[in-house]
């Protein structure tokens, strides 16, 4: 069994959906730093996806520094170092911009967005 679940929805390319799902699993603590990550083969079999897609997912996560490959164990969830806080903040720039664009399009004021953010944040904390 793989220690997280992915909800497939229509639209975005499969590999992007899976990467987003894994990041979410890390954010809510289903996957923790230092834990072993499933192999490409395991991912492919469990999620019933093309092995090349599974390979692409693992490669992308390694490139983003979310997974670390160790020869003996395979891939492991990385420890995110505190020093890279600024870098991590930069990673948020794009999704935040998209959020602001959508909010403006829907004509929602900043206070409402703050409220939604807080609510979603707390929900995820609870699951941890």
């Amino acid at each position: 069994m793989i220690p997280f679940s992915i909800q497939f929805k229509g639209g975005a390319p499969l590999s992007e959906q899976i990467i987003a799902g894994i990041k979410k699993a890390i954010a809510i603590g289903q996957l923790k730093a230092g834990e072993k990550f499933p192999s490409v083969r395991q991912l492919s079999l469990e999620l019933k996806i093309n092995p090349n897609t599974a390979h692409k997912v693992v490669q992308a996560l390694v490139q983003e520094g979310i997974l670390v490959v160790t020869p003996a164990i395979g891939s492991v969830i990385a420890n995110i170092e505190p020093s890279s806080a600024k870098k991590r903040q930069e990673l948020l720039q794009e999704p935040v911009e998209n959020l602001v664009i959508e909010a403006k399009r829907l004509q929602l004021p900043l206070e409402v967005i703050e409220e939604i953010l807080r609510k979603t944040w707390n929900q995820m904390e609870k699951k941890e």
Binding site: F8, G10, G11, A12, P13, L14, S15, R41, S44, L45, L47, K48, I49, N50, P51, N52, T53, I101, R105
Partner: protein, 306 residues
Amino acid sequence: MNLIETHQLARRFGKTEAVHDVSFQVPEGEIYALLGPNGAGKTTTIQMLMNIQQPTSGIAKVLGIDSTNLTEREFQKIGYVSENLRLPEWMTLQELIDYFRPMYSTWDTSFEEALIGRFELPLDLKFKHLSRGMQMKAQLLTSLAYRPQLIVLDEPFSGLDPLTRDELIQGILELNSQEGWSVLITSHDLDEVERLSDHVGILNKGKLEVSEEIESLQNRVRNITITHTENIAEVSPPAHWIHYQRQGGVSRFFDLNYQSEASDNLYRNYFQNPAHIQAETLNLREIFVELSKTFRQPYSKKGVLK
């Protein structure tokens, strides 16, 4: 290396051309899905590849060999499963396995046993007492157990329940630790195909209208919504914008050739600096439906082609 390669492959029946100049490649290590409504030419194409039918013109190479010259030696490395094949009713699975095993030098008994377990297949019941799903699983088992290099599946999922489909998919993926392994699959179940394949070909009336990677197709075909001022003049959309519709200050269409920035610039030009541009990705089923409309083919909404 391409495990399958066709060049202008064609097959005529009298005056009708079932397959018209079809060219595509299935590279090593990839899963290629051939899609299309019934009568599009999928099965005829596969049967030419398997040397069951002869091409009228053009050429198909399978494992590097002209399909019309395929022999026993190549079929040792090919697993072929088709909804059109029937298992001998009077035989049991055990008897069928015992019959096939000595014919294949690469038969892997432990893999055979693993598949029997995964598929939960009874060994001692005659095939006439087994359901369609069970029979498809038995066919797949006897086509995978010798670890073929190339697996050809003609409509393996049609008429099967979701659980059996899942089991079939997992059976196919079990082989994936093997090097240089490729799959060609025809199906009209698009959701299953989207997860399993990396390449997709769309056949329509014998012509291959699309042949590319699923992700590249998803990057290229986008559902565009543009919010602009109401008083801009009527726009005459380029040919790669399909189903263009405008209502006041909103224009919607499908762009078949979306390229992030270049397209955004084009839209800005056409719609005079619009307030908002939205370019949504689509899943394979949605892309297929929109493209099919341009071929003027009937389709149903559930992702299952008629």
